[in-house]
Amino acid sequence: MPDRPFIETIDVVKTYKVGSSMVTALDHFSIGIEEGEMVAIMGPSGSGKTSLLNMIGGLDRPDSGAVRVKEVEINRLGEEQRARFRKNNIGFIFQFFNLIPSLTAIENVLVPVMFERETPVKRAGELLERVGLGDRFDHLPGMLSGGERQRVAIARALINDPMLILADEPTGNIDSETAREIVSLFRELNDEGKTLILATHDRIVAGRAKVMIKIRDGRMVRGKAHSRDGMRSLSPDKGGGVPE
């Protein structure tokens, strides 16, 4: 196929062992996401949305099937190669922010590049200003509010200028007012051409995305495009970009 989607999972199966029983997180899951999309993945907890994000982010490997991001089949890469791939191409945003408590805001933004010879301090500062934390450079995460911490995390996700941003419950730990601001920020990033995938419970967050996917028990229940130029391929019954 000449026109592969930007992100593609093909027939991905992932099972986890919980105690003595096996839980199927993703059950022959196929999806194609185009570049520049903003996709919200909704579903109850345990539905497999985090697993899907982890697959796409190369944190996890499928039991079977393939995951392709930017023409790279990341399920074939080794642990270290995937780490390098994540660093250069993917920005991660977590529910619990995952900031380093001993480092200040600006240093936290610099964490992914600290082993680089030249640390882009200036860029980190610009990113912090961009997310609205121009006066919080030297604050430790403990001194910041939940929303501010998540903004630091967003700046950190942007430090390598990734094409793809993955956010797992980005508003799960902040109040709805701040959540709205965070989502607006996501929209802005998307308008600049970044591809965003958000896993979320929050309808308001999902409502601002261009595409919404609902999954349950590791299967896609519904794929729906909000925008006019939306993704036909997402709907399982039409199955456009999804190989049968």
């Binding site: 619990f96 922010f97 995952n98 900031l99 408590p101 995460p141």
Partner: protein
Amino acid sequence: MNETDRSFNSATYALSHIRHDLFRSITTVVTISLTIAFILLTTSLLFGLVNEISETDEKASILDGMIPGSVSMFEEFRIDGSQLSKESKASLVNYLLVTSVLVIMVAFFIMFNTMSISVQERRGEIGVLRSVGFSSREVMKIFLTEGGVIGMISFLSALFLGTPFIVNLAAYLIERGDGGIFFVQPMIPLQLVAIIGALTMLLTVFTTYLAAKKTLRVRPVEMLRPTR
């Protein structure tokens, strides 16, 4: 669940945890018992020396009269202690005293470290216990019991396995015609057993207290969350 499992207290909890995380418990016990064996080694040499001094001259040592009729564990290695004069022995006693003090210090630091791991690894568990209504005092009691049990096991293994092992290994490795280390007969009288046993319990319980104190001050909600 059978009948015996009905009674649940801090001791059964501690024991079940030791059993559950057997590998970690074994490494903890090995570490602590090695430090105790070190203490036992230096102190048993000390006792052996002081005993020999007091046999030859009653006024030679300020530790006189502290040693009862003792049981020697290493009879076969005995080499004529009278080859050393009492002055030489007294000098060695001085060094052994300094060594023992240092080794006890080391034991304190090592135990603190070891106990910290066992507390730290179970933050989530502490959080659960606190949130179902255990007071921090009760959680502390569980940890202290566990520390005590680990201390006891470590002490016994140091006494019956560690120290004899080290001494025998040393004797085997050194194997010098002139006897070397066994110019001095290591001696572990009951009194020493009691002193070191009490010291071990004190150290383990105290270090567990120190290690758990800070963690228990954290609010339970924080502990249920990932460490941040």
